[in-house]
């Protein structure tokens, strides 16, 4: 891996197709693109980019050609509509490459004033609300690839839950990537009012199976959780083995807001994800339950941030990594507690289970504590499964591979039980698939 800084001048231009929308949006797109074009790539060695070469995420041309999807879009759409009809979901979106958004809302959610819509439509129907929040958390100052997303997202998803609204069933987003050489810029803006309650599943699929076709996706997610709200956000990475995937997520929690983020990463050749929660009101609490399960030659790079801006806030991270074959995982996690934020509690755990030789793990759980009134711990472990456990299970009649599968299933079980119920079967199948042939 080259550590040489690539300082090439980038010269992307805004495609004419992005000319629509209000003037303020166009100006932000232009300034974001200017930042992307002029900013050098992040320095290697700094913790966010220590283990992954940023040049893999550079885009130097924009392909305006129609994206071809491998999956049957109509079938996916029908399935989502069926799920709403059956009462399993209160909202559904099929997002085709960030360009075409099919959206559905249950009658119940619509009656309560909830909105699940394309961002382009929300720019008209809720312009003030969008203008106030969009780019508030993921913008050009966060990083060069966030600037790129900020300039080039075409048609994002908008979710609005009014105050005091409890959404019974999850809202499920299916983001599809093209089957050939394609680039997609996904965007999501969630605004949850005071004392609202909602679960959002953000599932990423598709892309080429062949790495030489260079499928690329770059996703920006912003979540505003009002005072006293309860939000569950479940991003699922299931993209095909020819994808390079980049995702930045930021959530801001108001007073007494509670958020669970449950990132599950199974897919893509190279997946870099950055999850950040800003605890900005007293009583706010954030939990991140992450799972990475890789096989083949996949590479995962995950970062979590718990930023305690307000005092009397709490956070907890349990990030699990299971690796087989020649997969590699890097995890960096930062807990930062500001000087003016007394009375915080923060916990962080990163456990790595390596199933065979050849797998590789890097982990940096970081703490930055700027005041004394805290309780903060973190831990990290790396290791193979315990041969004694395998021995015990095989002595009870299980085959060796069944024993290993049992141990791995036990390792991931506590994370999987955090995801919404309607997903249990689906996620269980992904895990089973990863365990095939052990």
């Amino acid at each position: 891996m080259s550590t040489v800084e690539i300082q090439q001048q980038r010269a992307l231009e805004l495609p004419a197709t992005l000319g629509g929308g209000p003037g303020w949006l166009h100006r932000i797109r232009q300034s974001s693109l200017a930042v992307y074009n002029s900013t050098p790539l992040p320095r290697r060695g700094l913790h966010l980019w220590r283990y992954t070469d940023p040049s893999g995420f550079v885009v130097d041309d924009v392909d305006p050609a129609e994206i071809v999807f491998g999956s049957d879009q109509a079938a996916i759409d029908d399935e989502m509509v069926g799920q709403i009809a059956a009462g399993h979901l209160d909202g559904a979106v099929v997002d085709l490459g960030g360009r075409r958004i099919c959206h559905h809302t249950s009658q119940r959610l619509a009656a309560m004033g909830g909105v699940v819509a394309p961002l382009s439509a929300a720019l008209k129907s809720h312009e003030d609300l969008v203008k106030k929040h969009l780019y508030g958390l993921v913008h050009e100052q966060i990083g060069v690839f966030e600037a790129l997303n900020g300039a080039l997202w075409e048609n994002g998803v908008f979710v609005y839950i009014p105050s005091d609204t409890i959404v019974d069933k999850p809202i499920h987003l299916r983001r599809e990537a093209g089957a050939g050489r394609s680039r997609q810029f996904f965007r999501l803006l969630v605004i949850a009012g005071e004392n609202s309650d909602v679960s959002i599943i953000d599932e990423y699929n598709g892309g080429p199976d062949d790495i030489s076709k260079s499928g690329y996706s770059n996703s920006g997610v912003e979540i505003f959780a009002g005072h006293g709200s309860k939000i569950r956000y479940v991003p699922i990475g299931r993209q095909a083995s020819g994808m390079t995937s980049y995702l930045t997520h930021r959530a801001r929690l108001g007073r007494d807001a509670v958020m669970q983020t449950i990132p599950l990463a199974f897919g893509a050749a190279l997946s870099k994800q950055n999850f950040g929660v800003l605890l900005s009101g007293p009583g706010a609490r954030s939990e991140i339950y992450g799972l990475v399960f890789g096989s083949g030659r996949q590479r995962f790079d995950n970062h979590t941030l718990h930023h305690h801006i307000s005092g009397q806030t709490g956070s907890n991270i349990d990030f699990k990594v299971v690796l087989r074959d020649r997969t590699e995982s890097a995890y960096t996690g930062l807990i930062r507690i500001e000087q003016g934020a007394p009375g915080c509690e923060a916990y962080q755990e990163n456990r790595n289970l390596l199933l065979n030789p050849g797998a590789k793990v890097e982990t940096i759980p970081e703490l930055e504590i700027l005041n004394e009134d805290v309780m903060c711990t973190h831990g990290a472990t790396v290791g193979s499964f315990d041969e004694e456990m395998v021995f015990y299970l095989t002595s009870r009649g299980l085959t060796y591979s069944d024993a290993v599968r049992t141990i791995v299933s036990g390792f991931v079980a506590s994370t999987l039980k955090m995801v919404p119920e309607n997903l249990h079967e689906r996620i269980g199948a992904f895990v089973e698939k990863r365990l095939e042939g052990i």
Binding site: R43, G45, L46, H47, Q339, P342, N352, L354, L355, N356, P357, G358, A359, K360, V361, E362, T363, I364, P365, E366, L367, E368, I369, L370, N371, E372, D373, V374, M375, C376, T377, H378, G379, A380, T381, V382, G383, S384
Partner: protein, 477 residues
């Protein structure tokens, strides 16, 4: 218990009054040779010529100076403080006496006075094996008990070792910390002066600890001591180094290099307690190589200084090697202790343990920066890392930056860290038993440090406890 608290109180009071004289004093010194400020090839040439060094060392110095010039300052850590170092305003060499004293009587009076106040001869009289006291750049007094030298143990200052045992020095110098390792290692290689050299022959067990006491006494004085310890097959040695430096108004730089080689089956423990003046930049490269079945232990205490950057490292290159790093850092007002530990496992069946304790007080900042690396072929490796941080004062800061790079599945790596303030419950319990807030806090801090202090030789444990008491004095959380 009440009695011991009383005694502690008395000690505390006494320490408060004589700190300036005991640790912070500064004797006027007539320097025999005080070079110009700044470092250049001419200064390097002069240092080397005055020491009458062999050509290869002179060349090594020049080469290292070019590396120092070419390397940029670190872009990580406390770059703000690092940027304040003015390399051109530092004396790179001073030689206080023309010849090294053979016995205590030959040592000039003004230097004797300094060491008397530090209690060196008394320490020697009791049980220490040897004394090598560094006053400015050259070791002025050096003795080794006869029975040790009879066993073939070499304990000299580095300059003497280069003269008397050139082959050994040439063979090992710079093999663990090469000149190009980092900017400050290059600076040290170019400008080094003094430091200890120890060679323990195969199978020899050095029963008493060997000790050196370093001091920096002159303003704007860079101290670049170079220590090299070689424990030959099956030998055992414990080396102790303590540092105190006087309080000065302008910044001083300390950039040492310590290389430690533990050959097959040997055991080396290296104990340091450093209490630098609050304006000193302490940028030290300490690294060891543990060969087959060898054990290396770093016991490292960091107090004082403006900025300390120090990460003792153990490279476990032979099967069955074992490493342990035990460190404690105390960051008081305006101090940044950026300390940590590194273990690099390059051989199978190796194990290591890191225990790090830090205390941040007032606006002090203590950072743990560590590395645990396991190479592909190093199977059956066990690593355990534990970091504990205690915060005292609402502006205190603690950072933990551990890095684990594991290239192998047959490992067991565990890392744990905790950050907290002094627990109210503990304070309440102790104060309800009649202790004042300060006494209670002291007791808690001492308890927090106990896993470290119990590893120290007695007089060091006492000194450390006193220094901590001094730092804690009047602390209201």
């Amino acid at each position: 218990m009440a009695e011991s608290i009383d005694k502690q109180k008395r000690d505390l009071a006494a320490l408060g009054t004589d700190y300036e004289t005991k640790y912070g004093f500064r004797d006027p010194v007539d320097y025999f040779h005080k070079g110009a400020r700044g470092l250049s090839h001419e200064v390097v040439e002069m240092i080397s010529r005055m020491k009458k060094e062999p050509l290869w060392m002179t060349e090594r110095r020049h080469e290292a100076l070019d590396i120092f010039y070419s390397k940029p300052m670190p872009k990580w850590g406390n770059t703000g403080l690092l940027g304040e170092i003015d390399f051109d305003n530092i004396y790179y060499f001073m030689k206080p006496v023309e010849h090294q004293g053979k016995s205590w009587d030959d040592v000039p009076d003004y230097i004797k006075k300094t060491f008397d106040r530090l209690g060196i001869p008394e320490a020697e009289k009791t049980f220490l094996g040897g004394v090598s006291a560094q006053y400015e750049s050259e070791v002025v007094y050096h003795s080794l008990r006869e029975d040790l030298s009879k066993q073939g143990i070499i304990f000299l200052d580095m300059d003497a070792a280069l003269r008397e045992h050139e082959d050994l020095v040439k063979k090992f110098f710079g093999t663990v910390v090469p000149s190009a390792d980092n900017k400050f290692a290059a600076l040290n290689t170019a400008a080094w002066s003094g430091g200890s050299f120890i060679y323990v022959p195969p199978g020899v067990d050095v029963k008493v600890p060997l000790q050196a006491y370093f001091r920096i006494n002159a303003e704007n004085m860079g101290q670049f001591e170079r220590t090299l310890i070689i424990a030959d097959k099956g030998s055992r040695v414990h080396y102790i180094e303590g540092c105190t430096a006087p309080v000065y108004s302008t910044d001083s730089l300390h950039a040492a290099v310590v290389e430690l080689i533990a050959l097959e089956g040997s055991y080396v423990r290296y104990t340091t307690i450093q209490n630098w003046a609050r304006n000193i930049y302490n940028l030290v490269t300490k690294r060891s190589t543990a060969h087959k079945n060898a054990t290396v232990e770093w016991v490292d205490g960091n107090l004082g200084s403006r900025l300390t950057m120090k990460y003792p490292c153990i490279q476990l290159v032979g099967e069955g090697a074992r490493g342990e790093i035990l460190s404690v850092a105390f960051a008081g007002q305006d101090q940044h202790q950026d300390a940590g530990a590194k273990v690099i496992h390059a051989a199978p069946n190796t194990s290591s343990r890191i225990t790090s304790k830090s205390i941040s007080k007032d606006n002090g900042r203590a950072s743990y920066r560590g590395l645990a690396k396991v190479h592909k072929n190093a199977v059956n490796v066990k690593i355990s890392v534990e970091c504990d941080a205690l915060l005292i004062g609402k502006d205190a800061r603690s950072d933990t930056y551990p890095t684990m790079e594991i290239d192998n599945e047959q490992v067991r790596v565990e890392h744990e860290a905790r950050v907290s303030k002094v627990a109210e419950e503990q304070l309440f319990y102790l104060t309800s038993r009649g202790l004042s807030q300060d006494e209670a806090r002291l007791l808690i801090v001492n308890g927090f440090m106990e896993p470290f202090t119990k590893e120290l030789p007695l007089e060091y444990a006492v000194e450390l406890n006193r220094l901590i008491q001094l730092e804690m004095e009047g602390s209201i959380g």
